[in-house]
Symmetry: C2
Subunit: 197 residues, 2 copies
């Protein structure tokens, strides 16, 4: 089955939109989704930004909230800007690397995004992450240990370096097997069509 | 007939995509297009940028060229990045203010965008602008005089200040009669649907 890479940071608002719809769209297109969690922070830093572009440019930040509010409304999705914004996504991203290796990243990804943007939970909180893990049938203590190993931390750093090498500068991003890059939830349909050409 | 404002800078690559398709889409939706040329330079300067975001961030600039290339290809449109990039759009924008007042801004806008992004002409060149004006049946000498008056220059400055007041931070942008703002060629359909609600 052809594959598409879905690159995202849990702090990314537009990645939430994608996470909540990519599975049915990819399934309908006969495409498998390869989840690629990474960290936007180092990517933005290389662009000279010390925070989210939506914080650095408040006019753009206000527009983003309205834009996503309209789109989420049309899709029947709840959407709130989390507090703090952007959320600290490091802990969730490290767990996602474990989830990817163990084969449960798809439901974990959706659960984290829903907790953050629909249920207004703080995804930097150990309590919140533990509840998500328990809900998915995983032992929080075991996952916490696995996500905190030097190897797992290094894996996330390498993943983020790989994102930069692929030309990724924001999230969500989609990369095809032949190296074609698409940026933004509004390019998901184009990316799937590219894979199916 | 309901109306939509189309805000654009002639140097804006994504505004080219919109300029070449907004009339048939608006017509099909029963919406009139109000052309609103303005200058992105002062808007970007307020964001701390001294040039186009696509020049300030070359990784994003390369992606933009590829993204528009894909979309233009799918629409049967020729697209080249102009040289220099971004183009100097001040002279064309001043003429556009005259064209707006005199009622021929629609064909002028398309002619300038096509000269810049399809025919690779330098739209800062008086020769190129004069050829466009002659082709549309206007006297270049008369238009040059009208576009260079202090009143016309002030009108363009006020237009750009109005853009900032509406929350516009990039182009193309669409503003509805009830003040709803949409940003990007990929939001044109949403903006037209909003007007028709």
């Amino acid at each position: 089955m052809p594959e598409i890479e879905f690159w995202y940071d849990f702090a990314s608002t537009y990645s939430y939109l994608t996470a909540m719809r990519i599975e049915p769209l990819a399934k309908a297109a006969g495409v498998r989704v390869a989840y690629r969690p990474f960290l936007l922070g180092p990517i933005f830093k290389a662009q000279g930004l010390t925070t989210s572009p939506f914080v650095a440019n408040p006019v753009k930040g206000r527009y983003m909230a309205r834009d996503i509010g309209r789109i989420a409304g049309a899709r029947g999705l709840v959407f709130h800007i989390p507090d703090p914004f952007p959320a600290h996504s490091l802990a969730a991203a490290r767990i996602a690397m474990v989830a990817e290796a163990e084969g449960w990243i798809e439901p974990f990804t959706r659960a984290v995004f829903a907790a953050e943007f629909a249920a207004r939970e703080d995804i930097a909180s150990t309590e919140v992450l533990d509840l998500i893990l328990s809900g998915l049938g995983h032992d929080p203590a075991r996952i916490s240990a696995a996500s905190g190993t030097p190897e797992n931390k290094a894996a996330l750093r390498e993943r983020t370096e790989a994102a930069a090498q692929k030309g990724i500068f924001g999230a969500p991003a989609f990369v095809t097997a032949d190296g074609e890059l698409f940026w933004g939830d509004d390019r998901l349909e184009q990316a799937l069509a590219w894979v199916k050409r």
